[in-house]
């Protein structure tokens, strides 16, 4: 049966890997994304998600180039997102080496694009990114890098995303992002039980236990960004912790075998 997946997320601004704290992106972690990919490859990560959070649409070309560069070293599934507003650019990212497209704002502004992409490339290719935010008025889904309120509650939003053709939900919380308090568990739980498609939990991981909590909330995969960049062998250690906590994770894929294969 399937193992629970561990996913490393790279947040890119203007081609550089940055730290994200409540959707503000300041600290540059890696000036070249390929270094991060090389590490994660060695550390038995199951998938990689790379997101372009630049404010400027002109970043699209450079981002596609980065996707192209890292895909040559990335032998696990690669999901790319940010500024996917038309079929052409979606196709460009896939040709550059992305396996899946992570789509956020188009679910509000251009549902027809989502449908068309899902029909053309298959549902498994479409990851619906949803960012939730809580205040006195309740929990709502935000789009456009967290700047616009859809007025929709997370459960209804996730169900609609799946209906429009998403094969996976990438769940993030603006309040928890980079805020070291673990995933937004109660909302995550509601979303997981409301949809048939797998849910990836993201946003807020500060300790390995947070990953375990995400799985217990119903997520099929758990993701983190900042924490994986700051620890040597981070994803390996995270998996060991998860395995010890009774979460079934994949432990194969050692770097040693990879090395023996590359000298042929």
């Amino acid at each position: 049966m399937l193992k629970k997946r561990l996913i490393a997320v790279l947040i890119l601004r203007d081609g550089q890997v940055v730290q994200s704290v409540r959707f503000k992106h300041t600290n540059v972690i890696h000036s070249n994304a390929i270094h991060a990919i090389e590490c994660f490859n060695k550390w038995a990560v199951d998938e990689i998600v790379i997101l372009n959070v630049s404010r400027d649409a002109a970043s699209r070309e450079q981002f596609a180039e980065v996707v192209g560069n890292i895909s040559s070293e990335c032998f696990v599934p690669l999901t790319a997102g940010g500024w996917i507003t038309d079929m052409e650019y979606a196709g460009q990212l896939l040709r550059s080496g992305a396996d899946k497209l992570c789509i956020n704002t188009a679910f509000l502004d251009d549902p027809e694009l989502v449908k068309a992409l899902s029909l053309r490339y298959g549902r498994q290719c479409i990851v619906a990114s949803m960012d939730v935010k809580a205040d006195e008025a309740g929990v709502r889904v935000m789009v456009d890098r967290g700047s616009r309120d859809t007025g929709s509650d997370p459960v209804a939003w996730a169900q609609r995303a799946a209906e429009l053709g998403a094969g996976e939900i990438f769940f993030n919380s603006i309040d928890h992002d980079g805020n070291r308090k673990g995933y937004h568990l109660d909302v995550l739980k509601q979303v997981c039980s409301a949809v048939d498609v797998p849910v990836i939990a993201f946003g807020g991981v500060f300790q390995w236990q947070d990953l375990v909590d995400g799985i217990h909330a119903g997520a099929a995969a758990v993701a983190a960004a900042n924490i994986f960049h700051y620890t040597e062998h981070s994803t390996k250690k995270a998996k060991r912790f998860m395995a010890e906590a009774g979460v079934p994770v994949r432990s194969e894929g050692s770097h040693e075998l990879l090395q023996t294969l590359s000298v042929s």
């Binding site: 399937l2 599934p77 080496g97 549902r123 048939d196 075998l257």
Partner: protein, 216 residues
């Protein structure tokens, strides 16, 4: 010299297949192409695929690649189908009620919603997405050095029901056993993505590059 043609029919991500092949066979020439001449001239042919069956078949036919693929397979050169490139080798796909190439007997069906419950009673998600164990049903040059029950990366909502049991080279469970690898003569085809399956996938690809197309 080894020349690997990766068949390009305008769908999805071919780059990662090409990059993985280049990684395991730095001395080989890897050519992503839709040109029937280039495909016919290659020593090895990889038929990858992603997307929905109706679109794939339409693009294959629009480029005249159906005939090319038949010819390659008849020529006896090593042929590797991946994901949709495995499914469309069969006769028919339930996805969009699509007639396929019919090179291998069998059909492609969707994971049935009513069966998607595990032993603990938990509902299973479709697509089947993630790392699952592959049971090797036969001894084959492409399995050489790949440990039994190794995990490969899957992402699909449809799977193959073979018309002849002898075609089955490997199977997985989700939650029931389904065929995830088939082999006949110079054809080897898999539902999972070796190019996305880290070390085990690269091993399978390097076996393919070293393969002469004979079944054992």
């Amino acid at each position: 010299m080894t020349e690997i043609a990766v068949i390009d029919y305008g769908m999805g991500n071919l780059r990662s297949v090409a990059k993985a092949l280049e990684h395991v066979a730095p001395e080989a020439r890897v050519n992503v192409t839709s040109d029937p001449g280039a495909i016919a001239a290659a020593t090895h042919v990889v038929f990858p695929g992603q997307g929905a069956a109706p679109d794939c078949m339409r693009e294959i036919r629009a480029r005249g690649l159906d005939k090319t693929i038949e010819n390659v397979i008849a020529s006896g050169k090593p042929f590797l189908g991946i994901c949709m490139g495995q499914q469309v080798l069969f006769e028919h796909s339930e996805e969009g009620d699509t007639p396929c190439l019919g090179i291998l007997p069998g059909k492609v069906v969707r994971f049935p919603a009513e069966a998607m419950v595990d032993a603990q009673g938990n509902k299973l998600k479709v697509p089947h997405m993630g790392w699952n164990q592959v049971h090797q049903a036969i001894v084959h040059p492409l399995w050489q050095g790949v440990a039994p029950e190794t995990r490969f990366y899957f992402v699909h909502s449809y799977y193959v029901e073979v018309g002849e049991p002898g075609l089955i080279a490997g199977f997985s469970h989700y939650p029931f056993a389904f065929t995830c690898a088939v082999a006949r003569a110079n054809i080897f085809a898999v539902q999972f993505h070796p190019e996305k399956s880290q070390a085990a996938g690269l091993k399978l690809l390097s076996n393919f590059v070293a393969w002469n197309g004979a079944a054992n």
